[in-house]
């Protein structure tokens, strides 16, 4: 059997670590990124120093303040986190295009096939961690396994700055010893219910049949059964495969004025283009959505051979598509443009380190 090679990379206390990196005065201090303690805000991220006081993310900031009054509360600079996140994602793309970001600070990588022709996912994980540290001075933890679930649980196993490998041979033992709350998808409520049923570890979970689990937990029960048996065939879905990028807007008043519609399309094209640039991608399919005043809607799309991301091309296609609708004949209530069939734009390295071409 050929197993996949999946890596889950999770940055350690990401927002708080970025703050500590950027502000040396925060080094070694309990740092909390999130709402002001006097507000009703919550902790978005906290440094390991803060965790020692029992503080964790999603906790009310006021509670965090009570636990550690001398903690440094910062608002957080999301532009900066996005910038660093992109740097990290670029590192992942050096190994594979099959990168599925879950958030700014974690992602799955499928390295079964990879750009560095390395058979060892562990080696790639170690290497990627090292590159992340070299380029951002931040640490990450990685889990390496043959499916998403195990890779994700494994990345949490040795935090911070750890690496945990769960090979097919080790999977059974690894799952057996896992506390039930550690299972991805099992939240506080389900955990309590399982505990009450005497299910405390993966080994306990495994003893229960699929039928019983489905009876007890509904559809999720089947999922619990599968993961307890190391079965999880969810693919790593790269962003560009599953997403289209689009914007739509409801007009202030229903209109049959084509000039006005063109103006709206122009604004939408600009926004879509901006968003495509932000995701560093282009797309081959432009889709126009028109909702008429009677709430019926139609879509028209065109697929072209060269990917587009610039506002003028998108606008041109959208206008042509608009001609294929009844807009103007019928009053229009909403217009939307989306670009799909996205590709990853090769970063344009106009300045690139050249390498020797060793042959033979």
């Amino acid at each position: 059997m050929n197993y996949r090679k999946i890596i889950h990379v999770d940055m350690d206390a990401f927002y708080a670590s970025v703050e500590q990196r950027n502000n040396p005065q925060l080094h070694g201090k309990p740092v909390i990124v999130g709402g002001n303690p006097k507000s009703r805000g919550v902790v978005a991220s906290c440094s390991y120093e803060a965790r020692r006081y029992g503080i964790h993310s999603a906790m009310a900031s006021s509670t965090a303040y009570r636990l550690c009054p001398h903690a440094v509360f910062v608002n957080g600079n999301f532009d900066e986190y996005i910038k660093v996140s992109r740097q990290i994602r670029d590192i992942f793309y050096e190994y594979t295009d099959l990168v599925e970001p879950l958030s700014l600070d974690e992602a799955y990588l499928d390295v079964t096939e990879n750009k560095v022709t390395c058979a060892s996912a562990t080696m790639i994980a170690r290497e990627a961690k090292q590159r992340i540290f070299e380029r951002t001075r931040l640490t990450a933890s990685a889990g390496v396994s043959f499916n998403k679930f195990l890779a994700k649980v494994a990345s949490d196993f040795r935090k911070p700055n750890g690496i945990t490998v769960v090979t097919p041979e080790l999977a059974d033992r690894f799952i057996d010893g896992l506390a039930i709350g550690k299972f991805y998808g099992i939240g506080k409520v389900t955990e309590k219910r399982m505990q009450d049923l005497g299910i405390k570890t993966g080994a306990d979970l495994k003893k229960i049949s699929r039928e019983d689990l489905t009876r007890l937990f509904g559809k999720a029960g089947g999922y619990y059964y599968d993961i307890a048996h190391g079965l999880d065939d969810r693919p790593v879905e790269p962003y560009y495969l599953r997403k289209s990028i689009g914007k739509e807007t409801t007009l202030e008043h229903d209109t049959d004025d084509r000039t006005l519609m063109t103006a709206v399309l122009k604004s939408l094209s600009g926004k879509v283009s901006e968003s495509l640039d932000k995701h560093r991608t282009k797309g081959k399919t432009v889709t126009l959505k028109v909702k008429y005043a009677d709430f019926t809607s139609v879509t028209r799309s065109i697929t072209i051979s060269d990917s587009v991301s610039d506002p003028n091309s998108i606008l041109m296609h959208a206008e042509n598509l608009l001609g294929k609708t009844e807009a103007g004949i019928k009053k229009v209530r909403l217009l939307g443009i989306s670009v799909s069939n996205l590709d990853i734009e090769e970063p344009e390295f106009e300045e690139q380190q050249l390498v020797f071409s060793f042959i033979g």
Binding site: V116, M123, E350, E351, Q352, Q353, L354, V355, F356, F358
Partner: protein, 377 residues
């Protein structure tokens, strides 16, 4: 049993053995050093399964014993003890009681050792076909090229130094990470039978570089996929990297567009200053070479810019702009121990070759950074 040993020698030997021990080793026994004690010698062995160290020192005891112990802890306590003779008392459950004979200190230190049982067998040094080197010679062969080797472990053949005898009576060492390459050829007064060459892992290379002294001799041999070094009282046994080293000769330029002569230190200092205005990981600077001078430039958005000019001697009236990683340039220039170097230029997109002025057997070759055409002029 009681062992008498010099604190200084024991500390030194443990440090030698422990330096390759990885604290991250999953195999618990391998995070320890093995101590084989006989009447007048103590042998300390360590390994991470890729490289092993065996080092010997004098000690006195009336019997023999083997035990394993954590080298880091052992060395930490020894480091803090006065430099008087030590008495080690190892009991049957491998508890190591350490006593200093110093009159200044009253203390008790007992380190829990382990049974040596699970410690893997380390091959013995084989003297067959061994080559004797001057330590200083080998150290140079290593230190002059190791900076160019890749620290990435993804491509193992780049994560090591290649040794080969290209022509009888010579030995060549090569390191490359595919963006730069360093190569040193020296003559030796014996046959070095290295077959088609061997690649020694970078970790072993670092170990050797630390152990080799400017004077004295060392012995080297290899069998199958293992190589052996014997340096004074220490033996290093290492895996040889499996795989084919790239055809490095093919990337060494055979002729140049033109060559320049530069004062090494001036160039190095200049690159160091200009590099401050670059960013990692590219550390891009531009060398504009024309009219017997180099203008070094760095320009980084949101950071700043720098420009310096130094005089050079060019053999042709050519001009060119080359983008290059300043850190690579520094790494190369630092190893050039001649007052002047020559820089062979082959084009904007092809390698820059640096050599000491009088020594074309030591080459440092760097691939440029492709730069925007606006620099082409």
């Amino acid at each position: 049993m009681i062992i008498h040993v010099s604190r200084e020698s024991l500390l030194k030997s443990i440090n030698i053995a422990d330096s390759i021990v990885s604290s991250k080793n999953i195999n618990i026994i391998l995070s320890n050093c093995l101590f084989n004690v006989s009447q007048d010698t103590t042998e300390i062995v360590s390994t991470d399964n890729e490289i092993a160290v065996r080092t010997k020192l004098g000690s006195k005891t009336d019997s023999t014993i083997s035990f394993a112990a954590n080298g880091k802890k052992f060395s930490s306590i020894l480091k803090e003890l006065p430099n008087d003779e030590l008495v080690l008392n190892v009991n049957e459950s491998f508890l190591i009681d350490i006593t200093s004979t110093s009159k200044e200190l009253k203390g008790h230190y007992a380190l829990f050792g382990l049974s040596p049982g699970e410690f893997p067998e380390i091959p013995q040094f084989t003297d067959d076909n061994s080559i004797e080197f001057d330590q200083g010679f080998l150290k140079k062969m290593i230190s002059k090229v190791m900076y160019a080797a890749s620290t990435d472990t993804i491509k193992p053949v780049f994560n090591g130094i290649y040794f080969v005898s290209e022509t009888p009576g010579t030995i060549t060492s090569v390191g490359t990470d595919s963006r730069r390459l360093s190569l040193l050829t020296r003559s030796i007064d014996q046959e070095a039978n290295l077959g088609s060459g061997i690649i020694i892992p970078l970790k072993t290379i670092h170990e050797l570089n630390r152990l080799l002294e400017p004077a004295g001799t060392c012995r080297f041999s290899f069998v199958n996929n293992q190589c052996f070094f014997k340096i004074a009282d220490t033996e290093i046994i290492s895996r040889i990297v499996d795989g084919q080293f790239p055809n490095y000769r093919q990337v060494v330029p055979k002729e140049y567009l033109f060559e320049i002569e530069v004062e090494t230190k001036k160039f190095l200092d200049s690159v160091r200053r200009v590099m401050i205005f670059t960013r990692e990981p590219a550390y891009k600077i531009i060398l504009n070479i024309q009219d017997n001078k180099i203008i070094l430039q760095a320009n980084t958005p949101e950071l700043g810019e720098a420009e310096e000019e130094i005089a050079v001697k060019s053999n042709k009236d050519e001009k060119i702009s080359i983008g290059i990683n300043a850190q690579f340039l520094i790494d190369s220039l630092k190893e050039m121990d001649s007052e002047y170097i020559t820089c062979g230029i082959t084009g904007q997109m092809s390698p820059l070759t640096i050599s000491p002025l009088e020594d074309r057997n030591y080459l440092s070759i760097i691939m440029p950074i492709q730069i925007k055409s606006s620099h082409n002029e």
